[in-house]
Symmetry: C2
């Protein structure tokens, strides 16, 4: 079946089932009613506490075939996923489904658990490191489901993702299950991706290395949603949990792109009082934020909010008054962790509020501009954020499809070549974000505008920006690097790319290793 985007997606995929095909970015609407998890009860003074994971597994009678969920706020410092899966393996469990909002190099031990049959399936927004290569090589018996940050709370609400055991890595907790990420030796800031798990899982388990006196307050997730609390020695490596200060790029090419992206935002007419903005934590994205900030300062523009994964750079903009508020679903660095715990205008938000298309209105819908990266972009403005030019898994859908769909202007920033291969191609190897939601591509050789947005093109031309046709950028890239060999992937399907609305927008077939 060739879907709406021209991608070849089977109607049925072994290990997944019947496919609901992608129909366009805003075409699929929700059906039916929300999943209702089992209703719980708690008697006064019943203990929720377990001294270790083994006792928890035995106490709850956790067994093979269950679905375990995890969140990635501890990023590459996380050891909770490994601890829990090691415990499962030790106790002889197998055929576990894992939902981990993003997987990092620290999660490489999961490869062993996959090979031994402890873990047989995975849902995630992205995979980095050895696990990515192993999945590309076909290590998992069932295809990985890649979701967006907004798609995941949607799947929890719809019941497509039913979680038996939600493991919430809690940098601070009390023994009644009030949780916070703001403080503790493993502080990670926002716990926003885990909120939906606490609302929907059959067993909600907090794992903490910092148990404090009752009641912990303010708490991000309350005792009315947490069933069990487990104390462990350490959640992981603080160095990997948050970086120091996230820095603006010094790479001159990156600065050229950032400057042009900022000018495009200014020329769009969106940069006025009430301006709302999201950008990634990459060096070039931060540089674009830096230039946008300068323009706001000069034009005395007071923005309304910045959104998404938050860095110290956005905190500075908040504190300077360039933005009134920060909505934080994930805190990238120490400065954002500190800011969230002390500034009432820097608030933690759930992934549902952040980006779920199927609720009463998520925040990405109110974004003016978003700056996003890409591993590839094609002449129809479809973006690949998951696989490299070699088809191997190397990135994350994350909030990419969500913010692109919501923002008034979606800007992709990318160098024209990456590892000496053109970024602009006829057809992306993997489509993660549909072209109809992407407005502008900014490269160091100029920008290209989606033909669906002649209004933007006019504004950019009038502002004197270097506007090129995307085909022209593609030819330029090919002049520089040569026309790349056309790769074909006909191995087994190793991953399905789920669009934020729950349809399958593309597949990923085995490659590389």
């Amino acid at each position: 079946m060739i879907n709406y985007l021209g991608r070849d997606v089977p109607d049925y995929v072994e290990g997944y089932g019947k496919v609901k095909h992608y129909l366009g970015a805003f075409k699929t609407v929700p059906e039916g009613t929300a999943y209702g998890p089992p209703i719980k009860a708690a008697s006064p003074r019943r203990s929720k506490f377990y001294p270790n994971l083994t006792d928890l597994f035995k106490g709850l009678g956790l067994k093979s075939g269950m679905t375990f969920s995890f969140h990635h706020h501890l990023r590459n410092g996380d050891q909770v996923v490994n601890m829990v899966l090691d415990t499962a393996a030790k106790l002889g469990l197998n055929d576990l489904a894992v939902s981990l909002t993003a997987a990092f190099p620290t999660h490489a031990p999961m490869i062993g658990h996959i090979k031994s049959g402890v873990v047989t399936s995975l849902r995630t927004s992205g995979v980095y490191g050895p696990l990515a290569a192993a999945i590309s090589g076909g290590v998992l018996p069932k295809p990985v489901i890649f979701h967006s940050h907004g798609g995941r709370p949607r799947s929890l609400k719809s019941g497509e993702l039913k979680v038996d055991v939600a493991i919430i890595a809690a940098p601070t907790a009390d023994d009644r299950g009030n949780l916070s990420g703001a403080v503790g030796k493993s502080a990670c800031g926002s716990l926003g991706y885990a909120f939906g798990d606490a609302d929907h899982a059959t067993h909600v388990v907090a794992v903490t290395d910092n148990l404090v006196d009752y009641p912990l307050l303010p708490a991000s997730i309350g005792q009315n949603k947490v069933d069990h609390v487990v104390l462990v020695e350490s959640l992981g490596d603080p160095q990997g949990i948050v970086s120091g200060t996230t820095k603006v790029t010094k790479d001159p090419v990156g600065l050229v792109i950032a400057d042009l992206a900022a000018k495009a935002i200014k020329a769009s007419g969106l940069l006025k009082n009430g301006f709302s903005f999201q950008t990634g934590a990459g060096g070039a994205s931060l540089a674009a934020a830096h230039y946008v900030g300068q323009m706001m300062r000069e034009a005395k523009v007071k923005g309304s909010f910045a959104l998404g994964g938050i860095t110290g750079y956005m905190v500075d903009m908040l504190e300077e008054g360039l933005f009134g508020n920060l909505y934080d679903v994930q805190s990238f660095d120490l400065e954002s962790v500190r800011s969230m715990s002390r500034n009432p205008n820097h608030v933690e938000v759930s992934a549902d509020l952040y980006a779920n298309p199927f609720n009463s209105g998520c925040l990405v819908n109110d974004l003016d501009a978003v700056i996003l990266g890409a591993t590839e972009i094609d002449i129809d403005f479809n973006v690949n954020a998951i696989t490299g030019s070699d088809g191997v898994l190397m990135g994350a859908a994350g909030g990419h499809p969500d913010t692109a769909a919501g923002a008034k202007m979606t800007v992709i920033v990318a160098t024209l070549l990456r590892s000496r291969l053109p970024i602009v191609v006829d057809r992306v190897i993997t489509a993660t974000t549909p072209g109809e939601t992407v407005d502008v591509l900014v490269t160091e050789y100029g920008l290209a505008v989606n033909p669906s947005r002649p209004d933007l093109k006019d504004r950019f031309v009038k502002a004197g920006l270097t506007v090129k046709d995307i085909h022209e950028l593609k030819r330029l890239a090919e002049d520089l690097a040569g026309v790349p060999e056309k790769l074909t992937f006909d191995g087994p399907i190793v991953a399905l790319v789920e669009y934020r609305d729950g349809t399958i927008i593309d597949t990923v077939r085995a490659a590389g290793q």
Copy 2:
């Protein structure tokens, strides 16, 4: 059918259906799964705004037979209920079910809507004023269901209460549906009772008289849960919404009772570091808090939290450091409204977190002591909080059954006589809180201890408090006032008293008027 508590409750009640009988305070456990409301969606930039209620009704196609829910944070200043029902009447709707968390004299116009068939049923935690008398007289075609504050979120979660249209009176809102009660001309503080409505209703409608720039932050209820925003000129009368400063009683009898209640708490051994406490906003309850505060000061006890409806008196205790935190489901006065908006240790909580017995653990479960009132208490310590000695509706279940069930020590404070009638009786006219959850009755003539708590009695005797048998207090009351004429109520059932677990603990039959 004579139930576990000896109350005569039919198996089937016209206008209600099959009755689930009360089996004991902790005997009924939840069954099955939570109600899943319709899944919603919101396109970017779709407006949620309606300029008035008539347009809202027409726009949503609201119709006869629907269930409308309201919360009572605006108390006797509320005009939102009246406006909405007037609009429904004007548009010809009838047979509406109303869920209003508590009804006040300001809601007297509902009597007219009941008589004309616009409103045919009511769920509430309590009714005050003309509506109470009218219901006691049998004005409603279906029996009123009285619930506790914890029972209501339970019934929303179980789907027993299915809300078509949740009306959230929002003292401040933006046009995307972020809501707050902390500021605005109709500021009421916490919106805690409305949280569950936002989670479960088919249409979630915010009605505001203070529309502010997007995004409103901090917001109590977020845009991901609110479907529509309606602007009206005024939510009601600020004088009736919050009182000025709530004051400790000066009545000498009230002070005697308060002093003894405080001494009982001290003698119980609970008054140590970590002490948690709830008390009502009545003058005698506040006086008891005053004495408890003095004891904490003297003994250098640092309490953990105070809970429930919050008054300036509790705010003073927070600010003095006597308690570390306040959990606020309802802010009674201006001082508590102000405190909640500026003090991070004074937090707004949902009714679910406050008191729902069927979640992972509500706050009342962690109360050490609660001080509650009563209109009657019987020799088995069953408490009536809903009807007077004449059987006429005059009060509220509120958080009474919830806190009694959760707290380590539940203290009822009451004068031995009320309107020259004994408070202590053989059998309460209406049972709202079961005796097994009530530990101590404190009167101006001494206190009585539930025989199930010999440990407390020992402590009180050792502390030299005036301990009496409850039969003795009853006799004393009868000596003073005479044995009251035994009233029998054999009129039609006008109300059912739902225990917090969803069973029916008692009925109220027509009386008075």
